[in-house]
Amino acid sequence: MSVATCQSEQALHRIISYLDMAGIVITPLIEKRALGLITEALDAHSDDLLRACMARMPAFFELPERPLLCKAPPIRRGSLGYGDY
C-alpha cells in the first residue's frame, strides 16, 4: 500500500468524521462528494493532504449552522441592600 493511498484513506475518514459530527447524514452521495474533494486535493499536489482537504470542505459541503443562542438577556444593573445584622 502506497503512502498516498494511506493518506487519502485517512483524509476520507477525517472528512466523514467531521461531517458526521457536524450533523450531516452520511449517504452514498455525500461519500462520493467526499471522494471528489480528496481527488481535487490530490490533484493539487499539496504537501499536506489533510490540510488541503479540510480547506476545501466549505466549497463541497453546506455545513448546518446552529442558531446563535442568547445566553443571557441585557443586564439591568441593580444593587443589594446590606442592612444591620
Binding site: 450533523g23 446552529r66 443562542l69 443589594l80 441592600g81
Partner: protein
Amino acid sequence: MSTPQPAPLQASVHNWRATGFRRRLLLLSAVLLQTAAATYFMLSVLPYNGGTWVEIGMASVFAILFSWISVGFWIGVFGFVLRRTGGDRQSLMRQQNPKALAATAMARTAIIMPIYNEQVEDCLGRLKAVYLSVQRTGHIEFFDFYILSDTRDPDIWLNEQAAWASLTTELEAQGRLYYRRRPLNQNYKSGNVGDFLRRWGRDYPYMVVLDADSLMGGKTLVQMVQLMQRHPQVGIVQSSPSLLNGQSVFARIQQFSNQLYGPLFTTGLAAIQMGEAAFWGHNAILRTEPFMRHCGLRKLPSWGLFRGPILSHDFVEAAYMGRAGHEVWLEPELQHSYEESPPTLVEELTRDKRWAKGNLQHLWLLVRGRRLRLAHRMAFLNGIMSYAASPLWLAFLVLATIAAASMVIWPIDYFPEAHQLHPVWPEWQPLRALVLILVTFSLLFIPKFLAVFDTIAAGRSRHFGGGLRLFLSVLLEMIVSALLAPIRMLSHTRFVLESLFNLKLKWAGQNRSGESRWGEAILNQAFGSVLALSWIGFAYWIDPMFFLWSLPVAVPLIFAAPVFVLLSRTQAGQRLKRWGLLRIPEETGGSQLLDDLNGNPIQHCPHLDLSAFQLALVDPRLNAVHAALARQLGGAIRKTRLQTLREQCLRHGAESLSSGERNLLASDQVSLTWLHEQIWLAPPDSVWGQLLSKL
C-alpha cells in the same frame, strides 16, 4: 407585562397576628407543662432524685430534649386537628376566592436554578419538566428560566452549557431559557442568587428559587405568582416540597415518611408560624424588590464559626424580610412542589455536615441580630436544635452511664447533702424509667399514628398502596427510623463539634444516584461501631439491666455499616416498589411531572468516549456554541499564556492540562476556535489524530 392587582387584606393581617399569638401561647404552655411534668418524673427515676451534679446535668439535658420533642409532638397534634376540621382558615390559601385568584393578572417571574457540580442531565431534565408544565398552563410568556452555575470543573460546566444549548433548541426556548456561570464563586448559593439579582433582578417583580433537585408544577407556579399579586405585604411564599423519584431503599423510605407524615407537620408548623414563617431556600416565590433592598447578607464579623459568609442563608433572608415588614408564609396547600431525597445515608450526612455548620452560625444572629421578629429568632433556635439535639442526647447517655457506674464503682453516698439527718437509699426506679421512656416514645410516634389515621380517614390510604401495604410500610419506616436515629446522633455530634471548632468543610455537589460500597461503609462506621461495642461491654460489666437499656442505641451503631449499604441499594428499593411497599401518591395515581421527568428526558447526552472539554474542541457544532458564548480574553500576559496553553493542548492533548488551564482555554473564544481548526488538521499519528481516528 401586567400590572399587579393589589388586593390588600389589612383586616386579616391583624387577625392572623392575634391568632398567631394565641396559638403560640397555647403551644408554649403545652410544651412547658409537659416538660415540667416529665422532668419532675425524671428526677423521681434517678437514685438521688437530682441530688448529685451528674443527676442535675441529666435532668437539665432531659428537659431540653424533652421540650424539643414536645414541640414536634404538639405541632403534629395541631396539624392533625386542623386537617380533620377542614384546614386552617387563617392560611393564605384559605383567604382566597378560587375564582378571583385564578383571574388575577400575572407578572413577570424569573425561575432560577442555582447549580454547582450537579448531574447536568438530571437537573436540566427537572427544569425541562417544569418548563413543559408551565407551558401547559398557557402562561409561559410570564416566566423566564435561569440556570445559574457555580461549577468550576470545565468538563462539568462545558457539559452544562452544551446541555443548555441543546435544551433551548429542543424546547424552542430561545430568549426564555438562559445560562449564566459566575467567573468567581463568592458567598456560596446566596452569592450566586445575589449575582443574578444584581444583573437581572430589576426585570422581574418575582423570583422562584429552585434547587437542582426541585420539581414544581406549572399550575402551582402560576398560583404562587397570583398569590403574590393579591398580597403586596407578602414577601415570600414557601411551598412545602414533597419528596419523590427516590430509587434506593433509603430514598424511598424518606419520601414515604415525608409524604405520609409531612402534611400533618407542615400544616401544624404553618399554623403556628403564620405570616412569620421560614424560607427553606427553594420551591418558594420571593418578591424581588424588597428582597434586593433588605436581604443582602453581610459576612459575620465575630470569630471562628461566627466569622465569614453566612452559609445557611434562607432562614436569615426570611428574618430580614420579616424585619422589613414583609410577611413570609409557609403554604402547605400548594400542590405539586417536589424535591428529591439524597439517595443514600452517606449523602444525607454529607449534606447535614454543611447544614449543621450553617444552622449553628445562626446562634450569633439569634443573639446579636437586631430588630428581628421573635418568631424568626425561634426559627433560628429550631434550626440550631435540629443539630444540637444530637450532642445533647449523647451527653445524656454519657451522664446516664456515669450515674449507673457510680452506683457500682464508687462507694454509695448515703448523705449526699450537707447537714442531712437521715440517710438516703439510692436506687434506680426501673418501672418509672420504663414509663418515662414510653411517654417519650409516644411523643415521637403519636403524631405518626395521627398522620396515618388522617390518611385513612381522608380515604387516601389507597394512594399509599392500600391498608395492609400502608401498615407494613409504616412498620418498615419506623424500624428503619429507629435504626437511623443513633447513627444520625453520632454523626451530627461530630458535625456540631467540627463546626464549633471551625474545621474546614468541603462544599461539594450532592451525589444523587450512587450506592454505598461495603469497604467504604465499614471504614467510615468503624469508630461508631467500636464505641458502641465498648459501651455495651462496659454497661454489661456494671449492670446487666443497664446493658439491656443500652441496646436500642448501641445495636444500630454496631451494625451501621450494613445499614448504610443495604439502604443505599437501588435494586432493593425497586423490589419494594414492585411489592407495593413504601408507595407514594404520585406512583399510585400517576403524575404528569413524573412522566415528563422519567419518560421525556433532555435530548442532550454526554459523549461516551470524549470528555466535555475534548468535545468542545472537536465537535463542530458544540465548538461553535461554546466559542460564541466565550469571551475574547485580553491582556498581554494572559494572551501569551493562552498561546502557550493552546500549543501544549495541541501537542500533548487535553489530559496534559490542569483543570484551571482547561478552564482558561474553554473561556477564551480565540483559543476554542483555533484549537478546533488545528485539531482537525492534526497528523494521524499525533495525540489528537489518534483520538479522531477512533471516532
